[in-house]
Amino acid sequence: MFELEGIFSAVGDFLASFLGAPLLQIVSIIAVAGVVIGFLMVLALFLVWWERKLSADFQVRIGPMRTGPHGVLQTIADALKLLQKEDIVPLTADKKVFFWAPVICFVTCFLAYICMPFGKGLIVRDLNIGILYIVAITTFTVISLLMAGWASNNKYSLLGGMRSAAQIISYEVPLSLSLLGAVMLAQSLSMVTIVQGQGGSFLHWYIWRQPLGFLLYVTAATAEVNRTPFDIPEAEQELVAGYNIEYSGMKFAMFFLAEFINMFTVCAIAATLFLGGWNPPFEFLSFIPSWVWFLGKSLFLVFILMWFRWTYPRLRVDQLMAFAWKFLLPLAFLNIIVTGFLIYLFE
């Protein structure tokens, strides 16, 4: 009864009652984009606060407490502070590229949500290439990081940008290959079909048939969003901050929020492909709205990534590359071969 699908279609019908067809299309596109972007911005602010509180818990501190109850409004205060700051551009920077890097990073991190099934019937557009589109569009992050690192004209940011790009390209290969197992089981690239293939009880979730695929994906995804133990691109002790070292104020805020939205994106993909998406674990729990399940599963995975970050030390660069190419990649190929063999055997 709390399904959002009905509310959105009711709003759509209401708008259609007094708007003409071409105007309705434009209005609905803007409205949907506004809802999705607004939701993700609030989510990113929440994730920043959550990360700070969790890190405090892991280090036996209490974290931000002053702004709002348990400091929930702290990120909003920080964001407002960042927006008011003077926009500093280094004298030797490549001004145009320096400007466009955070814009591209920020815009493309929302594009993946065009075909993300938030709940039953709650998807902007069900593309029939779904997951492939998400994998393709997220490659723009690499370009924005390289642009930021290069345009700053600073050796630390250049090194940070290079490291990010090298890491993301390397881990993208096992990442994409680990998703293929779930795609083979669902026989479709569409996100909606993949979720529907996991309906019923939690025993139908693809994690049980793709345990190796799930582990490979979570590992590669952690590297993909530059988080510990794979956070060499911004290793504070050696690089100060990595690619975004010269950025301040609003441009820094854009990189920072994009990072948290990207973290939620990879977790939402994992929840959709391996943990049944918006399907409840048991049939009798289906009175809880589907979007709650989707959010719960995604946030649980986000929690695991944060847990990694405050528990594990960082890998070295050579270990990092060897791990991707000599360990993850062969396992990902093995996973595909075994999955294909088993599908052929049982169907």
């Binding site: 490549d94 590229v97 593309l127 029939n128 290439i129 492939l132 589109y133 994998v135 393709a136 569009i137 490659t139 723009f140 690499v142 370009i143 390289l146 642009m147 290069w150 004209n153 250049l158 940008g161 290079m162 790009a165 090298a166 390209i169 993208e172 690239l189």
Partner: protein, 161 residues
């Protein structure tokens, strides 16, 4: 709507392609190449070939141009410097390119283009995969071997000894 989208994409493709060959900063050239490749993916979307469009972005934006940017950044003498985009043979180049253009235009105008039947081949990922694994399996494997040879060759050259 279709025409408008096509003309916007065409302007983007041609404009960014022009930037790639005229700008003097090679890093900027590489970035415009990204824009060019991405706009070409837009043309594929217009033609309802979503799979090809996604693969275009994945390979040309995600891999090829990033590799180029990498090479630019790793090459010490190139970073931040401007380079000449013209060599000493502009007249010969102009002659060859214009004759090539004339030949292409001739071929384009002489050919009678067959319009596909209404249904045509469905360009979905399933159909493509089936075709690659059955009818076109030999060319597919040959391409894979060629790529593998290129990879091995690159490693042999970079090892040096």
């Amino acid at each position: 709507m279709f025409d408008l989208a096509f003309y916007i994409l065409a302007v983007l493709i041609l404009g960014s392609a022009l930037m790639v060959v005229t700008l003097r900063n090679i890093f900027h050239c590489a970035l415009f190449l990204v824009l060019c490749m991405f706009s070409i993916a837009g043309i594929y979307i217009l033609l309802e070939a979503e799979f090809i469009a996604a693969v275009q972005v994945l390979i040309y934006v995600g891999a090829v141009t990033i590799l180029m940017i990498f090479a630019v950044m790793l090459t010490h003498q190139l970073t931040g410097k401007t380079i000449r985009q013209v060599n000493d043979q502009p007249i010969a180049a102009l002659f060859i390119i214009s004759s090539l253009l004339v030949l292409t235009l001739l071929a384009l105008s002489k050919t009678t283009w067959e319009v596909a039947s209404s249904s045509g081949v469905s360009p979905s990922a399933t159909e493509l995969g089936r075709a690659l694994m059955t009818v076109y399996v030999l060319p597919f494997e040959v391409v894979s071997v060629v790529l593998l040879v290129a990879l091995v060759g690159a490693i042999v050259i970079s090892r040096g000894d």
